[in-house]
Structures are given as structure tokens and as C-alpha cells.
């Protein structure tokens, strides 16, 4: 992308206030994730003696030593939430990388090769899409065993079909365009056609889908964590923290409120960003 295209993109993107808010929030969460060890006041796993279930500082019984209070075994909630950002951003990133790379490759293959290969890949996609996503993810986790990595793979598998369909549709449009046909008549091989000619022109919608994939990934991995099928309990993962806190919903409601709020804000931020990117990258809307 050259600088004038970049300027044009930024012009359309910045028109959308929601998108800018989303971008700022995403950047903020990324920074928190990167600098977690410096930002967190305590070790997220450290058990502080004598301060079990202490409320946040604004509530009665809270103080500023533990800004957002402590959980039932005396861990600092703020530190756990900060480290949780690290896990969630990492999880979102891994889900997107995993599903985007596999989905794009299969989509390119289906769209460019056509015929039998296309039929097989699309039928598989239909089947994966017919299975309710959370159930598929639950079964995949059960097969692989409970861990954060396996939750990421499970959720990635669920997200792949979306990328396949999207890329395939784009390739089917692009492969009959004149520039591709012309390049072919000059002797360009399949590899050059697919990766150098077609792929760059399918990227815009893939970027949008990738951004929205972040929110899907974070949300679903947290859901698995909540069902007890994601990160194992001592880990400061937001969904897992929420599952732990369920028992204390009456006695320590902040343990339920805060991790969920973090999930909501991150997911919302990526959805805002994705919507904004879609509007800014879609030439039809620029008129």
C-alpha cells in the first residue's frame, strides 16, 4: 500500500468514530498485554495472607493496597486481570493465525482449482458449519485434553470455514479478471497466479474477517474456560476466573463482574475495529 492509498484509507477510517475508539482500545489492551509484568502491582499467582475476598477500593472494606480487591484465596484481582489481557490477546492472535492461514490456503485451493477439489473442500466446510460451534469446540478439547493450547486449536477449527468461504468467493471473482487471464497467457504458473496475482487482491476482506476473528477467538476460548474446558484454574484467564468466581456471586460479586467486563470490552473493541476496517476498505461504500 503506497502512502496516498494509506492516507485515503486513514481518511475513511477516521471518519468512523466507533472504529477509532475500537482501535484505541485494542492498542491499549496490546500495550497492557506486552507490559503486564511492569504494570501489574503483584504476581498474579501470589497468595496474600489474610486478605481473602477483599472488595475493590471504592467499596466498603476495600483499600488502595489491592485496587480491585482480592479473590477467595487472596490473589490480587487487578494483577490477574492484567495478566489475563496477555492470555486473551495471545489467544486471539493464535486463533486468527491458525484459522486464517489454513482457511486462506484451502480457500485459494478450492477457488483456483475448482472442480472436484472445490467440491470436496466446500462439502467439508458445509459439514463443519452444520455442527454447532461450541459443541465442536467442546468435543475437540475433549479429544486433545484440557489446556489453553488445545482450546485455541479447537476454536481455530471452528473459525476456519468462514475464511475458506470468504477467500474462495474472492478467488472465483479475481481469477476471471483480465489481469489474471493476461498473466496466464504470458505463461504464469499456478503458483505465481495464486500467490502473487490473486492473493494480494483478496486481502481486504480477509483482514476484516481476521479482525472479527479476534473477537470470536477471545469469546469462544473464554467460553471454554468458563465451561471448565480451557485454561486450567490457577491460570489468570478471564473465562476461567469467571468460572471460579461463580460460587462467590453473592459474597464477592466483583470477582464475577470484572473479568466479564474485560472480555466484553476487548470483544467490543475488535468488533468496532473490524466494522471500521470493513467500511474503510470496501470501495463500494466510499462513494
Amino acid at each position: 500500500m503506497n502512502s496516498s492509498a494509506l492516507k485515503e484509507f486513514w481518511y475513511f477510517f477516521s471518519q468512523n468514530r466507533g472504529a477509532v475508539v475500537g482501535l484505541v482500545l485494542v492498542v491499549l489492551f496490546v500495550l497492557v498485554a506486552i507490559f503486564a509484568p511492569w504494570l501489574a502491582p503483584y504476581d498474579p499467582a501470589a497468595l496474600h495472607d489474610g486478605v481473602f475476598s477483599q472488595p475493590p477500593f471504592w467499596a466498603a472494606g476495600g483499600n488502595t493496597t489491592y485496587l480491585l480487591g482480592t479473590d477467595d484465596v487472596g490473589r490480587d484481582v487487578l494483577s490477574r486481570l492484567i495478566y489475563g489481557a496477555r492470555i486473551s490477546m495471545g489467544v486471539g492472535f493464535m486463533v486468527v493465525v491458525f484459522s486464517l492461514s489454513i482457511g486462506t490456503l484451502l480457500g485459494l485451493l478450492a477457488g483456483y482449482a475448482g472442480g472436484f477439489i472445490d467440491k470436496v473442500i466446500m462439502r467439508l466446510t458445509d459439514i463443519l458449519m452444520a455442527l454447532p460451534s461450541i459443541l465442536l469446540a467442546i468435543v475437540v478439547v475433549t479429544i486433545l485434553g484440557q489446556s489453553l493450547t488445545n482450546a485455541v486449536i479447537a476454536v481455530g477449527v471452528v473459525v476456519i470455514p468462514g475464511f475458506i468461504r470468504l477467500v474462495r468467493a474472492q478467488v472465483m471473482i479475481e481469477k476471471n479478471r483480465q489481469y489474471v487471464v493476461a498473466s496466464g497467457s504470458f505463461g504464469a504458473g499456478a503458483g505465481r497466479q495464486v500467490f502473487i496475482n490473486i492473493l494480494p487482491n483478496t486481502l481486504a476482506p480477509v483482514i476484516v474477517q481476521g479482525t472479527l476473528g479476534f473477537s470470536d477467538g477471545i469469546l469462544n476460548v473464554a467460553a471454554l474456560g468458563f465451561l471448565g474446558l480451557g485454561a486450567k484454574p490457577p491460570t489468570a484467564e478471564w473465562g476461567t476466573m469467571l468460572a471460579d468466581a461463580r460460587a462467590f456471586i453473592e459474597s464477592a460479586p466483583w470477582l464475577v463482574t470484572l473479568p466479564g467486563l474485560c472480555i466484553l470490552i476487548v470483544v467490543l473493541a475488535f468488533n468496532l475495529l473490524g466494522d471500521g476496517l470493513r467500511d474503510a476498505l470496501d470501495p463500494r461504500l466510499k462513494k
Binding site: A130, P132, V139, T142, I143, L219, A223, F226, I249, G260
Partner: protein, 337 residues
Amino acid sequence: MIAYLLRRLAEVIPTLLGVTIIAFALIRMIPGDPVLLLIGERGASPEVIAEMRATYGLDKPLPVQYGVFVKNAAVGDFGESIVSHRPVHEEFSERFPATLELGAFALCLAILFGLPLGVLAAVKRNSIFDYSLMTTSLIGYSMPIFWWGLILILVFSVNLGWTPVSGRIDLAYDVPNWTGFYLIDSWKSADGWLAFRSALSHLVLPGIALGTIPLAVIARMTRSSMLEVLGEDYMRTARAKGLARGRVIFVHGLRNALVPVITVIGLMAGTIVTGAVLTETIFSWPGIGRWLVDSVLQRDYPVIQSGILLISAIVIFVNFVVDLAYAWANPRLRGAK
């Protein structure tokens, strides 16, 4: 239309077969021997283990097991739960009405509020109302419903004490099994209104939790579809003829704007099922979502594989019907691939 129906059917059947293969194969990949799990700590002699294996058909080669599974499923025999020793179809049909009632209630809420709000946002485009509704709906769309359910419990059950926390109805009421929908069946119980009120108060929170994402999607879809229609020439013509604004918006506008909205609603079957798994877990709702999660945790092979098959079949069937309805309403689609 018939040709279209047949062509779509030709696509649906291999998908359904594919689902049976996936359901079957995934379950075999789960580590842990279900028979050993069943015997548990007590232990048993090798003969007993071999005998149990034979009872459940687990001693046969995999292709044979698969063949038996599909053949039986085709005639409605989904095997027997290893845990409860009851036929899977019996357990399924016992719990399915609970999920259906929850899903239908949630969808009704979503449509009842989503449609008018979407129309209003489109009519009052770029107003404060429009902006705040669109912001709220994006928040609703991003909602982790497992957390949203807990927050609803925290506010309405724990703090306000308005609604019960779990289950479908107070145990005090004896509801006859008639339709499986407690909202209807409760009227036939001895307590009538009281039983109905209890059923409704149990249904409200999970209904809201499950209906939130569909509500957000419907409101946004209605708004954008309505905006498109509002710009059409026939809308201006209708106004120019002297028809009242409300009539033009709701009769001429909404009717045409509804087509894409109905499609989106139809395709929500999958979203609802996914949401039901989480909602039922939070509210201890005795439906198929929780049943399946439990069976995964207990490695109840027949239940997982048939449960996944049944639910996927329902989702595929609903999507199929939506496709047909869409093609019926819009003949141009029938030719398109």
C-alpha cells in the same frame, strides 16, 4: 421450484452423512475407555469387561460400528446411554422441549424488541436515539453470554430477589406433560396461574441472556434493510399519494425490508443452540445443551454422537427450510447456484 428443492436436497444429504462420520470419528478419538470409566474405581474381571464391550458393540471393528450407527440412526434408534442405560432418543425427547421453549422464548423477545427498535432507528436516522441504539446493539452483539447470565442473576435474583436462579419451575407444582412447554402445560396443572407465573419467572432471565445476541443482530439488520427501502421510489410515491407516514413505513416499507431480516432470523438456529449450551449451564436449565456438556464430561459415547447428530440435523433442516422459503419468496434465487 421442484427442481430447486431436489438440487438443495442433493446437497443436504451428503452433508448429513458427513456429520454422521464426523460425530462417529470424533467420539472414537476421545481418550479414555468408556467401559473402564463405567466400571470406575471398583474394577472388574477381564471377562466382565469383555462382556460389557460386547453389549455396547464396542468389540467390533470401527467400520462395522459406524455402519450399525448409521443404519440404526436412519430408523430412529440412537442407541442407549452408557450412564443412565436409557435410550438416547428418550433422553433427547425429554429434554428437547425445554431447549425449544427457551430458544423460542428468546427468539420471540429478540423479534418483539429488535424489529420495532430497528425500524425506529432507521426512521430517525443519525439521531441520538439511532446512535445510542446502534452502540447498545453492538455491545449486545459482543456480549459474552455466560457472563451476561451471571450478571442478570446477580441483579435480578441475588440483589432484587425477583426471579429464581435455576430450573424450569418450582418443585411444588406438578405440571402434566402435554406439550413439553411449561408455559402452556402449567395452565393444565392444579395450580393454574400460580404454576404459570412460576414457569415464566424461571424462563425470563435465561430467555433474556439467550435472546440478547439475536436481538442485537435483528435490530441492526432491520435498521440497515429499512434504510435501503426508505430510499426507494415507491416509498416516495406512496407518501405523495397522501398515505399516512406510519402506514407507509410499516405497510410499504417494513414488508419489503423484512425479507433479509427473516433470512437472518432463520439462520440463527446455530447461534441459539450454541447459546443454549452456555445459558443452560448457567441457569441449570434441563435442556439438551447441558445434557450434551454433561455427556462429554462423562464420556457417554452414544449420547454425544447421537446428540451431535440430532442437533446438527435440526440445524441443517432449519437452514434448508429457510433456503426454500427464501427461494419461494424470491424466484430469482432458484436459478442461481
